[in-house]
């Protein structure tokens, strides 16, 4: 992988000064802002993010449900739910071509051919009334003028590639005749049908059995490597990205809060939220006596325009500035030239008061007498913020918080909210699906 620098044209708002120009990255997202207009008001889903992706590179996007990771990638595909979801600002450059301004038919030509996507739930992502063959063949024939037989041969080849036995007969089957893992293989095969240059996998294993997850990830990794396809892997599970991707973006409330190469991120997690994430999951390599520390509180209400650092209410390291200003994403080493892609990508965080390495290991501030800054407008003595016992912490224990429940992903909830705009409330039988 060659070292790349940010693209020449847009001046990155948060990433600081750009380095020298080596080559144009495959994908370049600049100042992307996505909002949903719903009956309940505007939802601030993605609030100005920047990242690049080089040809053949693998990038993990990690964050809690509702952090905007899925929305970001739907925005890349221009598949935001209409009419609620809108790209308000920013550019998405694929090979220098801005996807945001493309016409519907132009973006359609790119979908599936240049950029393919694998969705979270293989149970619902395949059309239940069409055979696998029909769904695969139509994908191929949507972009290539081939005969049905050729398309079918290609489909068989692809199914073989993803390890589906007896593909000739399985082609005639309907999705419900496959297991979840098999369906996800079909999805992968379908996504790779046209040798896309970028593959976006949105939580591809979340809905699967743990035993299957590894197989699917393995197939995904192998095929992406073999074909040289760039991969964006979206997940809430740091464990998944650890072995799969070269670089990781950590997202929170529609912002990228930390960006680093995978080894760097695990070696030196630097944003309080990243640290929180790492401490809230059990690690197979841990000593065993390490306590899990949950992240207190809940993600912010995205119906409110974000002011200050979005993580501040939950952050143990927050200072007064965190309440009022949003720290942009900047290199940890402020003087270094920012490299956006590749193994030498710059480690960047969005934090006014980054934890130290020791604090990162401990999962809490170790500084003498440090207390998280109280919210503006409250008297300091009132905020005996001790972590547990605070109102927010108690709320966090309520079951409906369910931030980490894979069953109720917040992104889905968000998309649901977007969908509500599309629903006339006087409408009958909305419940007929599911």
């Amino acid at each position: 992988m060659t070292t790349t620098t940010p693209p020449p044209a847009p001046a990155p708002t948060a990433a600081g000064a750009a380095g020298g120009v080596a080559s144009v990255p495959l994908l370049s997202v600049r100042d992307l802002v996505v909002r949903f207009r719903t009956q309940d008001g505007t939802i601030y889903a993605v609030n100005g993010i920047d990242f690049d992706l080089a040809e053949g590179e693998t990038l993990g996007i990690v964050g809690e449900s509702g952090c905007g990771k899925s929305v970001t990638n739907l925005a890349i595909m221009r598949l935001l739910p209409k009419p609620a979801g809108r790209i308000e600002r920013g550019r998405i450059l694929l090979d220098g071509q801005d996807l945001v301004v493309l016409s519907e038919s132009e973006i359609r030509a790119i979908r599936g051919r240049d950029v393919a996507m694998i969705f979270q739930d293989p149970m619902t992502s395949l059309n239940p009334v069409l055979t696998i063959e029909e769904q695969m063949v139509e994908t191929i024939r949507a972009h290539r003028t081939t005969s049905k037989e050729e398309a079918r041969a290609r489909a068989i080849e692809l199914l073989e590639m993803v390890g589906i036995p007896k593909p000739e007969t399985r082609l005639k089957a309907f999705p419900h005749q496959f297991s979840g893992g098999m369906r996800q293989r079909v999805m992968i095969a379908m996504a790779l049908a046209l040798d896309p240059r970028l593959l976006i996998a949105d939580e591809p294993t979340t809905a699967l059995d743990v035993t299957i997850q590894a197989q699917i990830l393995e197939i995904l990794a192998r095929l992406a490597t073999e074909s040289g396809t760039a991969l964006i892997l979206i997940t809430h599970d740091l464990g998944v990205v650890a072995g799969m991707t070269k670089r990781i973006n950590v997202m929170y409330a529609g912002f990228v809060v930390e960006s680093a190469t995978t080894p760097e991120l695990f070696a030196l997690p630097s944003h309080p939220y990243t640290i929180g994430l790492l401490h809230s999951i059990p690690r197979l390599d841990s000593d065993g006596d390490e306590d899990l520390i949950p992240i207190e509180g809940r993600p912010p209400d995205q119906r409110v325009e974000p002011v200050g650092c979005p993580f501040a209410p939950r952050c143990a390291w927050r200072i007064d500035d965190c309440w009022s200003d949003n720290p942009g994403l900047a290199a940890i080493d402020g003087r270094a030239a920012v490299v956006m892609t590749g193994p030498a990508a710059t480690h960047r965080i969005a934090c006014f008061n980054p934890p130290t390495h020791d604090e990162a290991l401990a999962g809490r501030p170790l500084r003498e007498g440090f207390r998280p800054a109280p919210p503006p407008g409250t008297l300091p003595e009132d905020t005996g913020f001790e972590g547990l016992g605070s109102e927010e912490a108690l709320e966090a224990l309520e079951p409906q918080g369910a931030e980490h429940s894979p069953l109720l992903p917040r992104d889905e909830a968000l998309l649901d909210a977007g969908r509500d705009r599309g629903q006339y409330p006087g409408d009958a039988d909305r419940d007929s699906h599911r």
Partner: protein, 334 residues
């Protein structure tokens, strides 16, 4: 699949059996002696007794029931008390009219309801969506006879565009062979009569189809909206399919499922509605027959026609379920 059909058919048997008991009981619970009803109030007692004997009313109840079921199984539905015509014969004269009317109403409801529902779902909460919603609400809220008479008044009486009643202009003198006039006119090689009988169908079909139209519109709209947000539709778009293809192949193929179920349920409503529609439009069908029979307490006709109605309802639901199974591979292959 065949197993499924057979199972469904077998499942209908206890329902029909139960129905026969209920109808039998209903007739026997009705006040008055059918024999006396037939003969009139001042008939001589020996005549009434003879009639009771002829009708088998002097037998014990269980035996009467067995006879009744036996006759049913032999396709003998008895005779009208009023005109003494065979119920089965009358049925074959009346039934085609109801079938034509019901199918026309269904065609109207489906043919207009589905595009309207799709149109409304295209831009939810737009003016056109609101308009369609209001129209469909009013549609389910107007009694059929009010709509029917109003349609007659406007289109037949005031505008003279369409005929007001009947199935065909009798002056055309088309021979009835099948009693399906649309077929009979063609059999007779009379395109003019075919057009005429088609014109006669329009107003009653609209009156009868208005409620199903409203319901199908609403369910189509809801179903399309639901499916539009399904993951596989997103997948289809992500594959770069054209909107037309996404719409036709992915959205509609799935949105059809609840719509088909609802269409099946509408048939029951249509048969019920035919009762009133046929009265309003002097349409010679089963519905009018039933009303006349009930007015005249024509027991066998009531009994048999309700049984036939129920049988049709069950059959249609069976057909719908089978159609549903064909549309939905999840059922077909399990």
């Amino acid at each position: 699949m065949i197993k499924y059909i057979v199972r469904r058919l077998l499942g209908a048997i206890p329902v029909l059996f139960g129905l026969s008991i209920i109808l039998f009981a209903f007739i026997h619970l009705l006040p008055g002696d059918p024999a006396a009803t037939i003969l009139g109030q001042h008939a001589r007692p020996e005549l009434v007794d003879a009639m009771r004997h002829r009708l088998g009313l002097d037998l014990p109840l269980w035996q009467q029931y067995l006879n009744y079921v036996g006759d049913l199984l032999h396709g003998d539905l008895g005779r009208s008390f009023v005109n003494n015509r065979s119920v089965v014969d009358d049925f074959f004269v009346r039934f085609p009219g109801t079938v034509e009317l019901t199918l026309a109403a269904l065609a109207f409801a489906v043919g207009l309801g589905i595009p309207m529902g799709r149109w409304a779902a295209r831009k939810p909460q737009s003016f056109s969506d609101g308009f369609i919603t209001v129209v469909s609400l009013v549609g389910v809220s107007i009694p059929i006879f009010v709509l029917g008479l109003s349609l007659q008044y406007v289109f037949a009486v005031q505008l003279h565009i369409l005929p007001a009643s009947g199935r065909i202009d009798p002056r055309l003198q088309v021979p009835y062979t099948t009693n399906f006039l649309l077929i009979d006119t063609l059999l007779a090689g009379r395109p003019d009569a075919f057009v005429d009988s088609l014109r006669h169908l329009v107003l009653p079909a609209i009156a009868l189809g208005s409620i199903p139209l409203a319901i199908i519109t609403r369910i189509t709209r809801a179903s399309v909206l639901d499916v539009t947000h399904e993951d596989y539709v997103r997948t289809a778009r992500a594959k770069g399919l054209t909107e037309k293809r996404v719409d036709g192949r992915h959205i509609m193929r799935n949105a059809w499922l609840p719509v088909v179920t609802v269409i099946g349920l509408q048939v029951g409503g249509l048969l019920a509605g035919a009762v009133i529609t046929e009265t309003v439009f002097a349409w010679n069908g089963v519905g009018k027959w039933v009303v006349e029979a009930i007015e005249a307490h024509d027991y066998f006709v009531i009994q048999s026609s309700i049984l036939i109605f129920a049988l049709i309802f069950l059959l249609v639901n069976l057909v719908v379920d089978i159609g549903y199974a064909f549309l939905n591979p999840r059922i077909r292959y399990s």
